[in-house]
């Protein structure tokens, strides 16, 4: 470089540096729209400082890993600049998924492991140094010595990972799971599924429920990081034949312009800095570059399938054959206020998540599955219609069941008041009547307004306490609430806290996407 060039270079460097400083003092000068798993919400304090340092703001939209994959490969417009899911594995199995990824960087890692109550682990003789195999886990379940909670493999990455690692280890081939192995492991997966007593659509909520109601299950499958951060005494058990680690890749999607790509670079550079990596470990309990790998091998990483059809066949087997079938009672408000705007159309679209054409790209695992049982209670101030359908295994029977449901819900019309709690009492009575150890039971309330007639929340609370006393199994039937339009979110939160369910707010996203989300909890 001659002197002139040096001066030019120095001058432009100065200008760039001033530009960079300006970015640090003002508001964010670039926003990246990120489709992410709710798992990364615990990064908030670190991302706040990241924004101050880099001038890049991350605007999140949260979705489950599999739902997010469908959104990306489903053929619609991809409005996001980046994704940040616990893993890109499923996405990468789709040819479209590979093309979508421009660049990805693993920011942190956490394996999915088993958190067991210490007294149960003692009884089973399990500890970190005496870890069970996956076969031991299945045997303990079959002997009635272990119950657990896990998230839905078709909705949430931790449940998905749990299923893949269980199937891979149980197949015992020493290598990757293939489609041909699935028939062999199905009976073992059925045995494994017997132990599930708690369902969830997200790892965070699963952990919360476990802490709130420790009597519900003996153990939960969750990220090592989530389990380490819980305020309860738990033994963390990694099955000796291996687990699968999620690597949280921050991923730049294709088609990014130079400015977006630069913002992505700045975020990655910040997050991968030595001090920030240390901080991520401290705050989130995940492993980072600040966490040295174990010198001696105590746990092993299982391989993840490389073929899409293997994963889809495994998920299909899980939902239609292995898992405890869901028994659901949906209480659906079609009061007069539902005539406003497009509310009835929105409801109809949302109900098709369960009974419509399955989305073909991702295998359509959210629709109703064989062996499941669903009751629809359409209500206003009185019960307006009622239908219960058991979903048959054979295709013709399945199609007939879907037609029966759709014919019924197409008849829904808005009119009348809103008797939420009267209807919920009916719903719970029906749910309890069919509840057993071989199904996952739940009630879902959909409402667009406040309770207007019949029992109040206070009345319902007293009724509920008496009901649970006389029918203890009712305590294991959560009531989830979907808050739509003018529904009273605070009151719904009280209701779901009382019954161990979760409140879903349909405000920013479509009602259908809330139904998709809630499906993971059923």
């Amino acid at each position: 470089m001659n002197l002139t060039q040096r001066i030019i270079a120095a001058g432009s460097a100065t200008l760039l540096a001033i530009g960079g400083l300006a970015a640090c003092t003002g508001g964010p000068d670039h926003t990246l729209h990120v489709l992410a798993g709710s798992e990364v919400q615990d990064m908030a304090p670190i991302l706040e400082d990241m924004e101050k340092a880099t001038g890049v703001h991350l605007e999140f939209e949260y979705m489950g890993t599999l739902d997010g994959t469908e959104a990306l490969v489903g053929g619609g417009d991809v409005d996001w600049d980046a994704t940040w899911f616990p893993s890109n594995r499923y996405l990468s199995l789709f040819p479209e998924g590979q093309d979508l990824i421009d660049e990805s960087t693993s920011i942190m890692r956490s394996p999915v492991v088993l958190g067991v109550k210490p007294e149960v682990a003692d009884q089973l003789g399990w500890s970190t140094s005496a870890a069970p195999t996956w076969q031991d886990v299945v045997s303990a379940i079959e002997a009635g010595d272990l119950t657990y909670g896990m998230t839905s493999p078709v909705a949430s990455n931790s449940g998905f990972t749990t299923l893949v690692q269980a199937a891979t280890a149980l197949a015992g081939t020493g290598t990757v799971l293939t489609e041909a192995d699935i028939d062999t492991v199905t009976p073992l997966l059925e045995g494994f599924a017997e132990g599930q007593e708690l369902a969830s659509g997200s790892s965070g909520w699963l952990a919360e429920r476990f802490v709130e109601d420790p009597g519900a299950v003996d153990a939960i499958f969750n990220y090592e990081s989530v389990l380490s951060g819980l305020d309860v005494d738990l033994d963390i058990v990694v099955p000796s034949d291996g687990s699968i680690t999620s690597d949280y890749p921050l991923t730049l999607l294709g088609g990014a312009n130079a400015e977006t790509a630069e913002a992505y670079d700045a975020v990655v550079e910040y997050l991968m800095g030595d001090e920030v990596q240390k901080r991520i470990s401290d705050v989130t309990h995940r492993r980072t570059t600040a966490t040295a790998p174990d010198a001696a091998a105590t746990t092993y990483e299982l391989p993840f399938p490389a073929q899409l059809q293997t994963v889809q066949q495994l998920l299909r087997t899980w939902v239609s054959t292995a898992r405890k079938p869901a028994q659901m009672v949906f209480a659906i408000d079609t009061s007069g206020s539902m005539s406003q705007g497009s509310r009835m159309e929105d409801l109809n679209e949302a109900l098709r998540v369960l009974s419509g054409e399955p989305a073909s790209e991702s295998g359509g695992f959210l629709t109703l599955q064989p062996r499941e049982r669903i009751t629809y209670l359409e209500f206003a101030d009185v019960l307006k219609s009622e239908i219960t359908v058991e979903i048959p295994i054979d295709q013709a029977g399945y199609n007939a069941a879907m037609s029966e449901i759709n014919d019924q819900v197409d008849e829904y019309y808005p009119g009348g008041g809103t008797a939420i709690y009267d209807t919920l009492e009916t719903a719970l009575e029906q749910a309890v009547a069919d509840a057993g150890n071989d199904s996952i039971n739940s009630v879902v309330l959909f409402s667009d307004g406040a309770n207007g007639s019949g029992a109040t929340l206070g009345d319902f609370t007293s009724w509920y306490q008496g009901f649970v006393e006389s029918s203890p199994e009712a305590a294991r039937i959560p009531v989830h609430a979907i808050v739509f339009a003018e529904a009273d979110a605070d009151e719904m939160r009280e209701l779901t806290e009382l019954t161990g369910g979760r409140t879903f707010i349909a405000a920013d996203e479509s009602l259908a996407s809330v139904f998709r989300e809630i499906r993971g909890y059923l």
Partner: protein
Amino acid sequence: MAEHTTRKKIRAPHIIGIAILAVGILAVVLIQLLGLGRGSTPRGGTLVTGVVGSEKVAFFEDPRVQEIFQDNDLRVEVRSSGSWRMAELEGIADNDFAFPASEVAAQHLRSEVPGSTGLYQPFFSPMAVATFEPIMQILASAGAASQDADGAWKIDVAAYLELVANDTRWNEISDGGYNSPRSIMITSTDIRSSNSAGQYLALAAYAANDSNVITDRARTDELLPQLSRLFLAQGYSGASSAGPFGDYLSQGIGAVPMVMIYEGQFLEEQVSENARIRDGMVLASLSPTIFSKHTAVTYSENGEKVMELLENNEDLANLLAEHGFRPSGTYAAAFDNLVAEKGLTGYLDTAGMVDVAQEPSYEVMDYLLTTISAQYDVAAGGAAPVDGDATIAPAEEDE
């Protein structure tokens, strides 16, 4: 020889990082004025463009490398492409050079695309295995590895393939030392997109064929199940930029006991400032080994000038060594000197590498790659044609 994925679109490197802001504007000005900075991109000189395998991008973008070209009135700009797809790139011959990581790919390019002016091999990279001391001891007990007097490990590829063919599990031969129920298997990058996995395939094909290059279709078909398993049974190869070598560094022995790499990846990590090579991590050479022969096809006088500099400029030779490449021109000793100077073990003397496998012909290699790649999509509706004439090349080279 960075293992970072290069982007599908090559962007201008961004010059200003957070670090520079921290140092302050004045320091930036001073450093730039004094010519000490490495962050500036020299401008001027004749523009020379090249298409290179992504494993060489970091070398060409190293400001010290650019400065040497600059001193010779050349401004070299590169973009990356998978080595096996260069022949299909439109207008490849409009560049001054194309630089795949495989001799066979370069020869194919030369025969397919007219206009080439020369063929150069200024440097090469032997393949090697990043692994752990205890793992090598287990393999040694099974007769598939040995240690020389200096403590350097060497893997007997044929014996290793035998272990894989017998579906040997780690816990069957480790005597409790590594109680994994997984099959013994080297992890590699994705065979569908990466040249380093392609080199592994070429090596395995040679070793499985009793140290002979496969030449005919019948023999290829016979070995295909065995060769396919080396890749398909690994499962998902990871979409993360760090790749399996990154997993090896960060997750350790339980996750990735052995990973196939260019030896230079290990060296580059060893000599870097924040080296993550820990106690017990070792580089094992392969017997036979295989060289990724970085072979340039030139299309202009300027392209030739670049290659001649790479062959004959001492500073460039030293920089090549620092990036983990072994120069083969005038200053071929640069790599051995660097290894000696840093006191590193596990790197064979260039002269001592005599047991070297050869890549099969382009047709055989293409058939192997196409057939194995297609098996990832079996029954998914997107099966690639398993036709030997199909020139389906990996979509993207990822390290």
